[in-house]
Amino acid sequence: MRGVLIDGAAVASPAAPAAGESAPFDPDLPWQRARSVALRPEPFGALVYHFGNRKLSFLKSKLLVSVVESLADHPSATATLVACGVPEAQRGAYVKALADLVRSQMIEARAPLPPTARRLPAGPCSGAGLEEL
């Protein structure tokens, strides 16, 4: 996996079995960073590590890092992109990047929360902030 926003398997992980079958990516459903995945901030974005399949991947945009981290705070991936201020022209690339991350099991489907029970925490993507973090 190699793209504008993500670079995966650039460095051999000690054991990286092939990702299993996973659901196709629908940006209108709720998603979250997989529970067995850690994001480590780096100057260019983040290193993504999956403790289960031991795959390593790299997010090459800080905005994408914010998107992945705040997926869980929004009702859908599309809503997350809007909240994070991803420019309209780049949304397609971001949707593709998220689909790649689903394929490599870095993000996973989330059961929708009842709309009244939620309060969005103040975070990088909570306001209308358009600045790239």
Partner: protein, 407 residues
Amino acid sequence: MTAVLPTRPERPVGGRLIDQFEYGLDAPICLTWELTYACNLACVHCLSSSGRRDPRELSTAEAEGVIDELQRMQVFYVNVGGGEPTVRPDFWHLLDYAIGHDVGVKFSTNGIKLTKARAEQLARTDYVDVQISLDGATAEVNDAVRGTGSFATATRALANLAEAGMKDTKVSVVVTRENAGQLDAFKALTDSYGAQLRLTRFRPSGRGADVWDQLHPTMAQQKDLYQWLLANGENVLTGDSFFHLSAFGEALPGLNLCGAGRVVCLIDPVGDVYACPFAIHEEFLAGNVRSPGGFQRVWQTSELFADLRSPQTGGACTKCAHFDACRGGCMAAKFFTGLPLDGPDPECVQGYGETALAARDASTVTPRSHLDHSHTGPVRGQPTMLGMPGIPVKICDESPLAGADLR
């Protein structure tokens, strides 16, 4: 007088990952941690000149402190080695401690301690990888460099691991002139244990410098190796160590870049932090984990690492058409053969290395490490490659005079 600070190039925004890696990461992707200089073997090409334990080696509590720090820094796995790491009495404790702190472990061993019981224990443990070192696909080739009986020890460990159901065991081979013709045999041997083959490059580090002229692959062997890796690369690990071969043409899979001090480093048994496992020399010593601020401060603030974290802009190699493929090759290989760090790798596949080696003048003194933990007395099963008489595995096996030099 105004002090002028040297300016370092600024990290670009976006672009290729390899260009980002040149500027270093906030923490290593993985690092090598040698737990002890003690080893039961005396391999002729040992990269760390191991043999005897160093009295200053990190205590159990200090080693746990390093693991705590790696967890905080989100270093998700370490390559543990030595010496022979499993001869440390607290090895199994430290293994569990690391795994319990989200630091996965891949450890390299000659197999001496991998009994059936240990193999079963490892097979039950998630997040651990075992790598058995083997430098010949036959006992004859292996034992000449690693010592009599070491092939049997390694294959016994492999059999124990396979029998216990251990997954993804690695067989780690340093490619030399003696075994470069055995690549298919290594693959077959590895497959027979359900294991995965890992090939790495032989560097003139540690005792490797003493035998480099005799053991480093010939140019023809390098070419064959390159073709073999292109054909088999999907299923063979290399630690991305053969990136200098990419200058033959098509790039090999993986990171084609020297990661020293940028994305990898070495913590040695006494806690010293070097730019890379093949660079145990004061020139590449960045600090010690025992100093205030620990490993994190060394990684993030050492002047040496800051110097390494910029792209190479000068030197003969930057003018070469293949520079983008090999990036000048291996820093340690150049250093320990007395070549300039901004010049060609001694095994440069375009032939510039041979020219550079030939051009060294007679007064060139190749650098030696300040450390040598080699055994000082005879070692059981001592390798015979250097033409020394072997010490029998058990000195009185045949007759009380077996192995004695009676001349």
